[in-house]
């Protein structure tokens, strides 16, 4: 593990990493890492200053999430969360549990691989969005919904077009915690109900698979997603 950390530092051209995460944990991975002494490794790396804060990113079940949260003195964690995936992986339960342990929570996949931000949502969904007093794009709704949670610290966006970056920055400018009204939250809830069972989930799975395996179909990754 030391070897990897040193190689990472070298690649990044730095002598320390401020927020270091153990990547893509789930129950079984954590168990094997724990037996291999990941806790001692993190303690040592923090002690000699190579890392400052330790955290983990998570793609497992909610029960395992709580177990991992309790298993080490984490400063933060990174979980997948969006208005469609409130019960998926760590979910709302995990978010609140981590916050109760004074952990910072970084959110990944706020748009579910981009699918919640498609400029032309299904007609039924577009009709619901059109009812809002404050008109927003689907992207803005999805991101604002995540930022509305005070437990959330950072929301990651896989933005790779200049226009998207600018749009996300503009949305972030107004995204105070608890800034959505009850009516707006209800609207998002209706959209969620409407979207569940459509192919957004399937599409997302394929994209994530593609990204994680670098384009190769990988049975292990596939199993991990399912």
């Amino acid at each position: 593990m030391d070897k990897y950390l040193n190689a990472q530092l070298q690649r990044l051209g730095t002598d320390h990493i401020d927020y270091y995460l153990i990547h893509a944990l789930e129950g079984a991975v954590w168990d094997s890492l724990a037996t291999l002494g990941i806790r001692d490794f993190l303690d040592q790396a923090k002690k000699d200053g190579r890392i400052v804060n330790a955290g983990f990113s998570f793609h497992g079940l909610a029960g395992d999430f709580k177990r991992i949260v309790d298993a080490y003195d984490w400063v933060f964690c990174q979980i997948q969360y969006n208005y469609l995936d409130q019960q998926f992986q760590a979910g709302t339960e995990g978010l609140e549990y981590a916050a109760s342990k004074r952990m910072g929570v970084v959110i990944m996949e706020p748009l579910r691989g981009g699918n919640l931000g498609l400029p032309t949502p299904p007609p039924a969904v577009a009709a619901i969005w059109a009812e809002a007093k404050t008109r927003r794009t689907p992207v803005a709704w999805a991101l604002r919904w995540v930022w509305n949670h005070p437990e959330v610290t950072v929301v990651l966006s896989g933005m790779n077009e200049e226009a998207h970056i600018e749009q996300n920055l503009a949305i972030a400018s107004e995204a105070q915690a608890g800034s959505l009204t009850e009516e707006e939250l209800e609207l998002v809830d209706r959209v969620r109900a409407n979207l569940q069972g459509t192919d957004a989930g399937g599409l997302y799975g394929l994209r994530l698979l593609h990204a994680l395996s670098g384009g190769r179909a990988d049975s292990q990754v596939l199993r991990f997603i399912q």
Binding site: M1, Y4, L5, Q8, R11, L12, G13, T14, D15, H16, I17, D18, Y19, Y20, L21, I22, H23, A24, S32, L33, L36, I38, V52, N53, S57, V75, F76, Q78, A99, R102, M103, G104, V106, M108, W147, V152, T153, V154, V155, L156, S157, G158, M159, N160, E161, E162, I165, E166, N168, L169, A170, A172, S173, A175, Q176, A177, A211, L212, G214
Partner: protein, 217 residues
């Protein structure tokens, strides 16, 4: 009537700070005056930014750039006739001017706000260490591609741009883009600091180069 208005009804403090987009275009020739209670007795407050003297020994200051749409020989003539020595116009004329140019100013301000949307990064604190992290982080799992590989120049410019807008959490990992994402996500910081370590100078106090990484066992 507040104390510090010039004869166009522009608030002097806003004008002198350059906050009024149309401040330079009023028919008052940009003279900033402070009105005492006795409305006729006004005194110049100072020279607004971007002004130049109108004439040697002149009493008012003309702004450098006056929008042409607010100028006319007639308005200049009226102004010269009624507003001497930096004083405001007599009562009925002043009210008319205020109404007319006040409306224009408001329209200009709205247009200005619409075209220059302000981007302000918000920060939230990490509960345990109090670090202020930008609520928007930059993820490096889906960097821009060109010809089957990362478009490095574009990716670096994007990350750099995001950092300049206040982003201070950049997420990368060993497996992203087949191991090439880390290099890309490190370069913007290197350019910022010159040495490649520590936080970029544009980040607020407590900002961090957040780097997510992967341990493979």
């Amino acid at each position: 009537m507040p104390r510090s208005w010039n004869c166009n009804g522009l608030k002097s403090s806003r004008v002198s700070k350059g906050l009024c987009p149309l401040a330079a275009g009023g028919i008052s020739h940009g003279a900033i005056v402070q009105r005492s209670r006795k409305w006729n007795a006004s005194k110049p407050l100072g020279i607004p930014k971007g002004s130049r003297p109108l004439a040697a020994g002149g009493v008012s200051w003309a702004p450098m750039a006056r929008p042409a749409r607010l100028r006319s020989p007639a308005s200049d003539g009226i102004r010269q006739l009624f507003c001497r020595n930096g004083r405001s116009a007599p009562f009925p004329l002043r009210v008319w001017w205020q109404r007319r140019y006040g409306r224009q100013r408001e329209a200009g301000r709205k247009q200005h706000a619409a075209t220059t949307r302000r981007i302000v990064m918000l920060y939230r604190r990490m509960p345990q260490n109090g670090d202020k992290l930008s609520i928007l982080g930059f993820g490096c799992m889906r960097l821009p591609m060109a010809g089957g590989t990362i478009d490095e120049a574009r990716a670096i410019a994007q990350i750099r741009g995001a950092i300049d807008h206040g982003v201070n959490y950049v997420d990368t990992a060993w497996p992203y883009h087949g191991g090439k994402a880390s290099r890309c996500s490190a370069r913007p910081f290197r350019r910022a600091t010159g040495s490649g370590s520590g936080s970029p100078p544009s980040c607020p106090r407590g900002a961090s180069t957040a780097v997510r990484t992967w341990t493979s066992i």
